[in-house]
């Protein structure tokens, strides 16, 4: 898509501490130049996604719903790369482990499925955890989203190379797998060509939601259960998103920082649905203009998927590293009314992939019984939204659970302060 008139690049596009700004107002920056430096272990670098001038650094709406420190760049139109970046593909096989990790860290690669966990941190598990399986998540996290699908079809080579690079960081022979939902046969075909000679399994998984959730994917592929309070590496697994694998390849072999990502633009109310490769920092309103505008009936614009995404409150919010999709919908047809009482039908219990009782969690959250709710497995909820989706009483189950999580963490902070 064409270069927008202004890019707003938030310094917090990942899990953990926001990056520290390293540019100042009126500085000239080149494409790919560092503008925010990782501040601490769990943090990530942020780069300029075109060349131009820094107009301001101030708080700006973020697709996560809050305000975040944002670097505004007015492009100069030349789109010049900074020195040493965007080189011709180099072979990664001669590189040492540390070199590869440093390149991934410098490029600011984070999990692109939605959580935004810094990839270099994920790839350096504690030494006592033995990793024997690396899984690439091609299951596409949510309905509507097709960004990873396109990426698998269009650049299977980079996907496979990214996985190989990540595998080279661990000793011994690993099981490498790419899990793809069975409704994407073209992606499976495309990947198989490159993956099979490299002894990478391409597995067709049942199409269901949430197949792309980390814990569910591990269970589907290895049969292991990641229990409460455990992380995938406790069960010897690392799961990475397709987009992340490509970003790792770009970072290691082509010296390209993460300044662009594939975004699915979809929903009934946008003129042209498509996958676009958008620069980080492109505002949603620029994307709307590029896709032919949204209809007047639009009453929700969602960043992310329909199940876990967030309705945004301003069209000025930018695309960030974790923006997998933008949906334009009119949900008045759903006839959303106020919450009614739980009728104990048990559908939420049936659909919960984590084996929780969402109705009970929501009830306890409503009563603000924060000790009790933690005993009921609050931390285990992945906020997939399946319970809210099936609830015949229209209860905001996930929202209540998120609410309880927020209260619990704010209380913990207050206690430690």
């Amino acid at each position: 898509m064409p270069l927008p008139a202004e890019l707003s690049i938030p310094l917090s596009q990942h899990l953990g501490k926001p990056a520290k700004p390293v540019v100042r107002m009126n500085d000239e920056v080149k494409k790919g130049q560092l503008v925010g430096e990782a501040d601490g272990f769990i943090s990530a670098n942020v780069h300029a996604s075109t060349s131009g001038k820094v107009r301001a650094i101030r708080p700006h709406p973020h697709p996560g719903g809050q305000y975040a420190m944002t670097v505004f760049i007015t492009p100069d139109g030349k789109d010049e790369w900074a020195e040493g970046l965007n080189s011709a593909p180099v072979d990664w096989k001669g590189m040492s482990k540390e070199e590869i990790l440093k390149k991934i860290r410098d490029a600011g690669v984070v999990g692109m499925g939605g959580a935004g966990f810094p990839t270099n941190v994920k790839l350096s598990p504690p030494p006592d955890k033995k990793i024997d399986t690396i899984i690439l998540n091609g299951a596409e996290c949510e309905p509507f989203l097709t960004a990873d699908h396109r990426l698998m079809v269009e650049s299977p080579e980079a996907v496979v190379a990214g996985l190989e690079i990540m595998a080279s960081l661990f000793p011994g022979t690993l099981k490498l797998a790419i899990g793809i939902e069975a409704n994407k046969p073209d992606a499976i075909d495309a990947l198989q060509q490159y993956a099979v000679p490299k002894k990478i399994e391409v597995l067709a998984l049942k199409t269901k939601y949430p197949q792309g959730a980390e814990k569910q994917l591990i269970n589907a592929i290895t049969g292991r259960n990641v229990g409460e309070g455990e992380l995938p590496f406790d069960r010897g697994c690392i799961v990475q998103n397709i987009g992340t694998a490509v970003a790792v390849y770009d970072a290691v072999c082509r010296n390209r920082p993460l300044i662009e990502r594939v975004v699915t633009v979809s929903g009934m109310e946008i003129a042209r649905q498509k996958n676009i490769s958008a620069r980080i920092g492109t505002s949603f309103s620029d994307i709307i203009a590029f896709c032919g505008g949204m209809s007047e009936k639009t009453n929700q614009v969602i960043s992310g998927g329909p199940m876990m995404g967030k309705a945004i409150f301003s069209l000025d919010v930018p695309v960030v590293k974790t923006t997998s999709g933008i949906l334009f919908i009119n949900n008045s047809a759903l006839g959303k009314s106020r919450e009614r009482a739980c009728i104990r039908c048990g559908r939420c219990v049936e659909v919960c992939p984590q084996g929780l009782a969402p109705w009970l969690l929501a009830n306890v959250a409503q009563l603000r019984q924060l000790e009790k709710i933690q005993l009921l497995g609050l931390a285990n909820c992945t906020e997939c939204g399946s319970c809210t989706y099936v609830c015949p009483s229209g209860r905001e189950l996930v929202h209540w659970i998120k609410y309880a999580k927020a209260l619990v963490s704010s209380r913990k902070q207050r206690k430690s302060a």
Binding site: G65, Y67, N299, H399, W400, Y403
Partner: protein
């Protein structure tokens, strides 16, 4: 037939009841705790709302500690000076008077003044709303207006009016229970005064952004700072603040305030006036 089952049942249950009764009687005599009658007396004078403003979880505990330590610096903000006098009479000592305080909303963003960002349909609770986004008003420092604090007020002093929390000064006892509940921190405590001027705005946005979002927002224009003869107004992070200790309530600042709805407010605390006169 009936009596066959009836007699053993009644007699066995009766025997059990008698045995338990005797145990209870013995325990109550053996472990009897002598209670200070003054604690009961003090407790009966206290407001009895268990609001926690004194720092103790209940009025009873306050009474116990007070009777035991005879610390005349302990105060009950809810009872106010009247209670301090009564407590002093009961205990035969001079009690310190509590500072008369009241909760204040640092926002005037009613729906007709503050512009909105998006319609919020989720759970009607301020904390739940902040999980979804920065708040239904464009100003992210504002009163969110879903009234989470109302449930925490033991005195019914808070109500929602056109998207803004309003505090009934006559009912607010200054217990400060509402203060930590507000996610945006627009609630603060202020000392009661005969005439109390304060900036009823919480926005740290730059002037232009504040003005765009709200007609009652402090744009940090400096006019009040310049006109104040007592140097009682300072601007901190794009927001004016009146230093209560320095303010002589001359009212010049309100005259020069250029915002459509004055961001400076004057409130008169009737109780405080009574005491002064």
């Amino acid at each position: 037939m009936i009596s066959d089952a009836f007699i053993p049942a009644v007699s066995s249950l009766g025997a059990v009841a008698l045995a338990l009764g005797l145990i209870i009687h013995y325990v109550s005599k053996r472990f009897h705790v002598e209670e200070d009658p003054t604690v009961k007396l003090v407790n009966s004078i206290l407001p009895g709302v268990n609001c926690g403003a004194c720092g103790f979880p209940s009025c009873n505990q306050f009474a116990e500690v007070l009777v035991e330590t005879r610390n005349n610096a302990m105060t009950c903000p809810v009872g106010g000076p009247d209670l301090a006098v009564k407590l002093g009479e009961t205990l035969g000592m001079a009690m310190a008077e509590p500072k008369a305080q009241t909760a204040v909303v640092l926002c005037q963003g009613k729906n007709d003044v503050a512009r909105r960002s998006a319609q919020y349909l989720g759970i009607q609770d301020c904390w739940a709303a902040t999980q979804a986004f920065a708040g239904p008003k464009q100003c992210r420092y504002s009163c969110i207006g879903l009234g989470s604090c109302i449930a925490w007020c033991d005195f019914g002093a808070m109500r929602l009016e056109n998207g803004l929390i309003v505090i009934d000064k006559n009912l607010c006892t200054g217990c400060a229970a509402c203060i930590p509940v507000c996610p945006t921190g627009v609630l603060v405590m202020q000392d009661k005064k005969a005439a109390r001027y304060f900036i009823a705005c919480n926005s740290h946005d730059r002037g232009a952004a504040t003005k765009k979002a709200c007609d009652a927002g402090c744009t940090a224009c400096q006019k009040c700072v310049k006109v104040c003869e007592d140097n009682a107004i300072v601007i901190e992070d794009f927001l004016a603040r009146i230093i209560q200790e320095k303010c002589t309530a001359c009212g010049k600042c309100i005259e020069v305030c250029p915002t459509k709805v004055n961001c400076i407010r004057l409130e008169r605390d009737l109780n405080a006036v009574k005491q002064a006169s």
